[in-house]
């Protein structure tokens, strides 16, 4: 009799544990959908610290790569023609603003791009670090959908600008440089005027 009772208790504990795991997974899935993820992308929200690996396999947290005055996270791709058109502009901005305390960080979340390719592309074009978002964890957290897509965080990791680098793939045709405007605003201690922009880019090839 006592054995049976113990067995029943153990079963109950197990099922409770199982239920807990399931509900935790469900909320994680919700997180990847519309709920908390949307909040993470909304202007003013704080992006929590994360851990990814760089193209050399070294572990990097957001705290490791962030700049003293802010951090520009750019979702990139080694294949997207739009990213390719922006390679030089990204590198130039990264150089200019690193000197002023804002670090640029590339994030590659495309599941179809092998590490060798990402590494070769990064070392050919960028001096800023490129992190690999395996399983598109961070892309889902930020609700990032395409490349190049910018998330500019202030010194406290608060999202202050989200969207494009500027308004034309062809550098000669650019008439609005919203990222640069946001960078200057933050460095001047002012509020960012345009906080959300959109541009045509390549959808991130996520794992389901």
């Amino acid at each position: 009799m006592r054995k049976h009772l113990l067995f029943a208790l153990a079963l109950m504990t197990l099922s409770l544990l199982f239920a807990g795991v399931v509900s935790a997974q469900t909320s994680a899935m919700n997180g990847a959908g519309a709920g908390p993820a949307a909040a993470a992308r909304s202007i003013g929200a704080t992006v929590p610290d994360f851990t990814l690996t760089d193209t050399n396999g070294a572990t990097k947290t957001l705290s490791d790569v962030k700049g003293a005055k802010g951090t520009v996270l750019i979702f990139i791709s080694s294949r997207c023609p739009v990213v390719k058109a922006y390679n030089e502009r990204m590198e130039q901005l990264a150089k200019d603003y690193k000197a002023r305390g804002i670090n640029f960080v590339g994030i590659n979340a495309n599941s179809n791009e092998p590490l060798d390719e990402v590494k070769a592309h990064a070392s050919a074009h960028y001096t800023f670090p490129v992190l690999i978002d395996k399983g598109n964890k961070i892309a889902d957290q930020l609700n990032a959908e395409h490349t190049p897509e910018v998330f500019f965080l202030d010194a406290n990791n608060k999202l202050v600008y989200h969207g494009r680098i500027d308004n034309n793939r062809d550098q000669g045709m650019v008439s609005k440089s919203e990222l640069k405007d946001a960078l200057e605003a933050v460095l001047a201690g002012k509020a960012v005027a345009v906080t959300e922009t959109a541009a045509v880019g390549c959808s991130i090839k996520k794992v389901e």
Partner: protein, 194 residues
Amino acid sequence: MPFCNSRRVLLSCTLLLVLTSAGQLAVYAQAAPLKQTNDKTAATTSPLKPLEIDIEGLKKILRRGADATPQHPLLLNFWATWCDPCREEFPDLLKVEADYRKRGLEFAAVSFDFSEDVQKALPDFLREMKADITPYWLNLPDPEPAIRMVDPQWTGGIPTTFLFDAKGNLVFKHTGKVKVAELRAAIEKVTSDK
């Protein structure tokens, strides 16, 4: 037009501009129905020239103009020939379009192709696909207003596929290569059984 700076070609460029504008007028004139009267043989043998549209043209497709009353569900796909998943999903979309055309589904494929690809790469691809559709090319120096007009939540990644019901409500959206079964299920809900 950047290639119109030499005097020698000025005249022909002017002519080209006039012709292009005339083409756009033609697009507006045939706002609904969206289907082109191309017969299949023409589509496979002659170059399939995309119809150049601007934000007003897109508004017509979305039937968001003042006089427009939506009557049919609309499947709207944004794509480009430079986009691999766009090319990959294109045959699936054409199949869906062919399957649901009789049930009142309207289909618009709107390309964000780079201007240098519009003369050759775009028509070549459409020919290869044997696309019996009206191909649109959205030519905007800054596509942001168009992106925002279609869906304020969309940040501009392509491919993105939208399905609007007959009342013009957005009922399905997918960025990245579309999942055909999901898309078909969504279309089933907004088309009649006839």
